[in-house]
């Protein structure tokens, strides 16, 4: 992403922070003027839960150019603990841990590095929960 766009989206990509429609509950990564689902106009700031379950996953072997160096990598569909569905890259998995239903948690990782000179883009990924602590 270009710098201003990356910067504008930091709350979502760093912290899974966003806006929930007060009428229908649809989650929006960026504060909208209108709900994408029901067109209502009232929103509450929300930080999505950081844990959930892996609903489905795939492993990309011929990725788009920005992610060539990372191949192969896994993309998962995660159902977070509040029911919100989110896509994310999966990281730090042993092969036996990569299966549907596995509990995962959001972590902060490098998403891509723009060469030697360019910006390092950080964001969320998901990894298997190896250790659960008591909720805060």
């Amino acid at each position: 992403m270009r710098v201003p766009s990356y910067w504008r989206n930091m709350p979502f990509i760093y912290r899974l922070s966003g806006w929930r429609c007060e009428h229908c509950g649809a989650f929006h990564p960026v504060k909208p003027l209108l709900c994408r689902r029901c067109r209502s106009r009232r929103f509450s700031a929300v930080e999505l839960p950081r844990t959930g379950r892996l609903r489905a996953y795939t492993i990309l072997r011929s990725p788009p150019k920005e992610f060539k160096d990372l191949a192969p990598y896994a993309i998962g569909l995660i159902e977070l603990d509040d029911g919100t569905r989110v896509l994310g890259q999966l990281t730090d998995f042993r092969s036996e841990e990569l299966r549907n239903g596995v509990r995962v948690e959001a972590v902060f990782r490098r998403i891509r590095v723009n060469g030697e000179e360019g910006l390092i883009e950080y964001g969320y990924k998901f990894r298997p929960v190896a250790r659960e602590a008591s909720p805060p």
Binding site: M10, E47, F108, R109, R110, I120, Y122, E132, S134
Partner: protein, 349 residues
């Protein structure tokens, strides 16, 4: 020694990446036998990790233990010698990731392996003077090991974070005393465009590590300072297994008080996180009332030493985040080729 008043640890967190490489695997490549290996294995950051990402992991755990509103954190200082940008502070990235922006202060610190404790020292000052309400001190590194060099066996990755504030009923530990001992001793350095640091071999021992660690620790023990008997744990900077045990011996400290905070055999030398992770390990097991002496060492050279007293609240706050053991025990072993790939030695970026 300075008797510190009014600074407490509210939250702490330690993170070690999942990946490990055994020292004997590195030795296999270079023809070095088991007897000469300074540690058993070391931690390796994954290809999508760096100082910022590890610092965030540790900071998020510290925040869970502290239970404070991150917006009240006024300073976030990351000490590292492998920070992602030469110009652009890591602290602001960490702050954004934990919801602490806008903050007041966020410069990065460098002082080889003691950059993290330097952050701890300076943030203590900011708390004590009331300039900030809470401060976050982090030591984190993905240290660069020169292939075939002795330090390749130990240069590892990890992060430790501490949230400091004024003492209150939620504080898990108190910083009671502090001392620093710094001189110009060029035992280990890295020039700006070099990938790897250079070290002065045996010069890194007596005139460097031992002189400064012993110097800083003595300043806490001598005179009207503390007695060894009243301190329950000693956590030293641990670039390998030998040095911290030798320092303990020099100071007359029983080995049993050093072992609980000694991790280097299992994770190597995590540089700016090194002694701080030892502190995390001890905080994970210490009882209220017990005292910990922490002494870091940073080449170039210097040592920060602290006396930390554990408080009651640790019992209920400790398990609000995963203990360090869960990171120490959760391992994926990699071979040397994978290690080079992860360290960016094959695909140079």
């Amino acid at each position: 020694m300075v008797r510190v008043g009014g600074v407490a640890i509210r939250g702490y967190g330690g993170y070690v990446p999942r990946y490990r490489i055994r020292a004997e695997e590195i030795g296999r490549i270079w023809g070095v036998g088991a007897a000469e290996l300074p540690v058993g294995e070391k931690s390796v950051a994954g290809p999508d990790e760096d100082v910022a990402t590890m610092a965030v992991e540790a900071a998020r755990m510290a925040l869970r233990r502290a239970g404070i509103d991150p917006r009240k954190i006024g300073a976030i200082h990351v000490g590292s010698e492998s920070k992602p940008y030469a110009v652009k502070p890591t602290g602001t990235i960490v702050a954004e990731a934990i919801g602490a922006n806008p903050s007041k202060l966020a410069a990065d610190f460098e002082f080889a392996c003691k950059a993290g404790t330097e952050a701890l020292s300076l943030i203590s000052g900011l708390i004590q003077t009331g300039i900030i309400e809470y401060g976050l001190a982090i030591g984190a590194d993905t240290a660069q090991g020169r292939p075939r060099d002795a330090l390749e066996y130990t240069a590892a990755s990890g992060a430790a974070a501490f949230i400091l504030g004024k003492p209150d009923r939620q504080a898990v530990a108190l910083i009671e005393a502090w001392s620093g001992y710094v001189t110009d001793t060029p035992d280990f350095w890295r020039r700006p465009f070099d990938r790897y640091p250079v070290h002065a071999a045996r010069f890194t021992g007596a005139p460097a590590y031992f002189k400064h660690v012993v110097g800083a620790v003595k300043s806490l023990l001598d005179g009207d300072g503390y007695s060894i008997d009243e301190i329950d744990y000693f956590v030293f900077h641990q670039p390998n297994v030998k040095f911290p045990l030798a320092a303990a011996k020099m100071l007359g400290i029983p080995k049993e008080k050093v072992l609980p905070g000694l991790l280097s055999d299992k994770i190597g030398n995590t540089y700016s996180a090194c002694s701080l992770l030892g502190l995390v390990k001890v905080l994970d097991q210490a009882q209220p009332g017990q005292k910990i002496l922490l002494a870091s060492y940073g080449s170039g050279a210097g040592s920060d030493a602290f006396i930390i007293k554990v408080l009651d609240a640790i019992l209920e706050r400790r398990d609000l985040a995963p203990r360090l053991d869960s990171f120490l025990e959760d391992k994926i072993y990699i071979d040397y080729a994978t290690y080079l790939k992860f360290r960016g030695e094959i695909l140079r970026r």
